[in-house]
């Protein structure tokens, strides 16, 4: 399989990339790791006339800590996240999630920016970014703006990105010391998208849940924040009745597609189970 013809650009700065994207118009696409876009191009489900490869832009790489915020350049790969001491120390849930994405080869190329910006409901990082309260930096011809992850996703493959805009960095507030975390993903095989997945970040005080955020992957057209489910566990010790209540509250907002991963009822059911497992595992890790 060979993609349709396109012209190739490799800018060295974000400013040049943004200029190219706005000049070339609708038929131009930015190319990050390419592990979603290139297979789509080979199947001729995508035929951009122009590809703007972001690999030449050194400023889009890297992970650094700025006070209580971790800033990750959009072209940082999943492999680089896994190799980062800073991520391992401050955001261990990102390591747990990255390890469940695709396979080793794909993680060497696949980027955090591509994963969150593509708007694919099957991608794992978007729900995690919502759970962690991340913000995305979007840069376009008219300047830069910050958009909260929970306001970014509008539908399958529809996001807050305007034509010609590029997602350049992700800022994540460092969770409280001693927080508990878990990303539970049910998938049919290594490399598959989630049948259902849940991210949990919580803190405990005196054996009871003090704060809690729950995110859901591939259970709707967009990633979801399960706010009622999170509220249901605050002040509890996650007894079986509370866990069931949280699962039910999460299931109430799920609207997964029926596909090869199962019918709607099944995917909602296992979605609830992922929420319960993630809550329990997160609580067990909280200090």
């Amino acid at each position: 399989m060979i993609p349709g013809p396109f012209s190739y650009y490799r800018p060295a700065t974000v400013a040049d990339a943004v200029k190219l994207l706005s000049t070339l118009g609708d038929e131009a696409r930015p190319l990050a790791g390419g592990h979603s876009l290139v297979p789509m191009m080979k199947l001729r489900l995508a035929s951009p006339e122009h590809l703007v490869d972001l690999h030449g832009i050194a400023g889009l790489k890297g992970i650094h800590r700025d006070g209580n915020t971790i800033v990750i350049g959009a072209m940082t790969t999943q492999h680089e996240l896994l190799a980062s001491d800073e991520i391992g120390k401050s955001l261990p849930i990102m390591d747990e999630t990255a390890l469940l994405i695709a396979d080793p080869q794909v993680r060497y190329r696949g980027t955090i920016g591509g994963n969150v910006a593509n708007g694919d409901p099957g991608n794992d990082m978007p729900a995690l970014m919502m759970t962690l309260g991340a913000t995305y930096r979007l840069e376009g011809a008219s300047g830069a703006r910050e958009v909260a992850a929970h306001e970014f996703y509008q539908g399958a493959y529809f996001t807050a990105l305007e034509p010609g805009e590029l997602l350049t960095a992700i800022s994540i507030p460092v969770p409280a010391a001693g927080h508990g975390y878990a990303y539970e993903k049910l998938k049919r095989k290594v490399g598959d998208y989630a049948t259902a997945a849940a991210a949990v970040v919580l803190t405990m005080a005196g054996g009871k849940v003090a704060t809690c955020k729950i995110g859901l992957t591939n259970l709707s057209e967009t990633p979801l924040l399960a706010e009622d489910a999170a509220k249901a566990v605050i002040g509890t010790s996650l007894d079986p009745a509370t866990l069931k209540q949280a699962a039910a509250a999460a299931e109430a907002i799920m609207s997964p597609a029926a596909d090869a991963r199962g019918p709607v009822e099944y995917r909602k059911h296992v979605g609830g189970i992922m929420v319960m497992r993630a809550l329990q595992r997160a609580a067990g890790r909280a200090g």
Binding site: F6, G34, P39, M41
Partner: protein
Amino acid sequence: MAKTHVTMKVNGAEVEGLVEPRTLLVHFIRENLSLTGTHIGCETTHCGACTVDIDGMSVKSCTMFAVQAQGSDITTIEGVANADGSLSALQEGFRMMHGLQCGFCTPGMILRAHRLLKENPSPTEEEIRMGISGNICRCTGYQNIVKAIQYAAAKINGVEFREAAE
């Protein structure tokens, strides 16, 4: 479509060629360089048969354009043997442990295992299995591939390989 001139290092030799932007790296390797040991399996980034080593990373060469490899240092199966032509530890492991049947997945398996052992010279069985989870084999059931990689790890570390009891 205008062609672009690319240069890169493949198995230690400087190579060049004219490619369309849409030329996939695997096609450049097989057709321009006539290095047909790198196989094309699924063409959809699942099977790993086309895995090569690029600048210290295992990459599925069907999912990258040749123009993106400009200036890279690439190793394919043709470049893994020892300098004197003898089999590398991994090649020897696949031979001794019968780590292949039809052999189609083997170049990708060996290139992936090559990088895995560089990053983790003493992997556990679990780490080997996760490490090759992007490479599909339809013959062996993976048992002997795992043993082949364990054999190579032992050889590289200078210890005697002992097969775990079945």
